[in-house]
Assembly symmetry: C2
Homo-oligomer: 311 residues x 2
């Protein structure tokens, strides 16, 4: 029996001495020429998918020694229809085999029975023997429908010893008009959603040995003003923090989601790492060696977060 999801994350973050996770958002046109040219035309879906799989597999192997987890954004696979979805599941298994915790960034959300169907797809290993795949360790969930829309995912995660992260506050500019709207009672909308999520997260059966729930929250690193408040208010919760790097969240802002022992938050960088070979700084250092660029960007990002935590 695998450990509780919250405890697995503690172990992984402590072992790697970093909260950094790498977001896999592969865009074919940005993949290294060296990889693309091996497979043929970008009008051939097999060529596109094979190049994407090769790029992701090699990137996973580069980052695995440094980070506790990776996050696959399924949209970048789903755009290649069922063939892309098959590639997504094969990469989840590849990441798992490298000892990484794996998060499926699927942001699924609906009500009742539909949540259960989505949870079957994304949180449970298939019962069909012909499918040699596994579910990711956790997925992101869109909790717009409230508790009814979150509980079926939380329960499926508990059953399969996995986790979920409910999307509480987005990291994009236009989210504020909606998510920061304040109620008559003085509570911003995102906080109502956080309270609903925390009520589910705090149910004793969801809490592991280290005190963390298997129900976490996605909160953008670009919305730092209330970070310390949320960290204090939801002590049982792992935060998944997008927005570090390309999206403009600073290391100092992001690490406010971590507890003093370094656990409690996974800080995601996607484009800043997987496209590091487009960055003049790394190009000057490593030329066409895109793998070295990705490795150095991973090391540098870990160091930035470490420095920020020591401040």
């Amino acid at each position: 029996m695998a450990k509780h999801f919250g405890d697995r994350l503690c172990d992984a973050v402590i072992a790697k001495k970093s909260p950094l996770i790498v977001g896999m958002d592969p865009v074919y046109s940005r993949l290294p020429e060296e990889v693309r040219k091996r497979y043929g035309s970008n009008n051939d879906i097999e060529a596109v998918i094979d190049a994407t799989i090769e790029f992701c597999t090699r990137t996973l192997k580069i980052v695995a020694p440094y980070v506790p987890a990776v996050k696959f954004n399924i949209a970048y696979f789903e755009r290649y229809f069922w063939e892309g979805v098959e590639a997504y599941y094969s990469l989840v298994a590849e990441a798992d085999s490298l000892g990484l915790e794996v998060i499926g960034d699927v942001k699924r959300g609906d009500i009742g029975h539909t949540c259960t169907a989505y949870a079957d797809a994304h949180l449970k290993d298939p019962k069909y023997k012909s499918l040699n795949i596994i579910a990711p360790d956790a997925i992101t969930v869109n909790g717009f429908a409230g508790a009814d829309g979150i509980l079926p995912f939380a329960d499926a995660a508990s059953e399969s010893n996995n986790g979920i992260f409910v999307w509480i506050r987005a990291s994009n500019p236009s989210a504020a008009r909606l998510q920061d709207a304040v109620t008559k009672e003085g509570m911003p909308f995102y906080q109502i959603l956080a309270e609903i999520t925390n009520e589910i997260a705090s149910q004793p059966r969801r809490i592991g040995e280290n005190g963390y729930s298997n129900v976490g929250m996605v909160v953008g690193g670009t919305t730092a003003e209330n970070t310390a408040v949320m960290r204090a208010r939801y002590p049982n919760v792992w935060f998944l923090v997008p927005g570090f790097g390309s999206q403009g969240g600073s290391a100092e802002d992001c690490v406010k989601f971590c507890k003093p022992d370094g656990t409690g938050a996974l800080i995601n960088s996607s484009r800043g790492i997987i496209y590091a070979y487009e960055d003049d700084k790394y190009k000057a250092q490593f030329g066409d060696n895109w793998e070295k660029c990705i490795e150095q960007a991973t090391i540098d990002s870990c160091a930035m977060l470490k420095n920020a935590m020591q401040k």
Copy 2:
């Protein structure tokens, strides 16, 4: 060049003289014994998918003469991994070939680039010649991230002459705590989202000949108190109304989303129609003939809505 999506819906609703649409949420264990037994064990994913495709294909042919559109809930296909996703696309094409408008109930939502990737998957015909599929005419979108999260879908829909329906108000009980929370300015949260959506929907380039936008709204039929207000406030918008039938929305409540000419709303019934053969009333009338049960339930549902509109 196909007509504008809003005009296609007008034509379809007027031709069928009904706003009823049928929601395809197939659950294997509830499929007719006659269909399931033809394919073998429920532990064999091919058998499960083949039975699901047969059931859906036959159901589409039964309902096509009566309704303007069908809605496929992708969760019920995605639960069968990439093989289910392939089945989803094949059924979208089947429904299209029957002359139906087709809505993909995918409730995708994220920010920026990720929305564009999802839109590639769900709103645009693939550019890959090896994939002989088409996109549905419209999809549902989760607009939690605000305008940034809606615009990429709206723009993709406009480019491909399709539509979107933004999920504004859910039909489940727990949605109220979140979506009906009222701001200091006296506006419930769902209305802020409706305003954001309407600003996008009302852009002149999105409006068709009949005055409807290709950006619509999903609003639950179980939340009738503000229905007439929304119909009046958003005259350019097609409403997609879940909750009729099994979820408890009455015909009288649902038709308040229609304009006097009968256009302006698509009213969805899923389980009440596709599982009509589980209903004692229809069993007594048609015995094991599940197709007759579905046909009669479709006819009855159309009649209920027609009567309600004449009140």
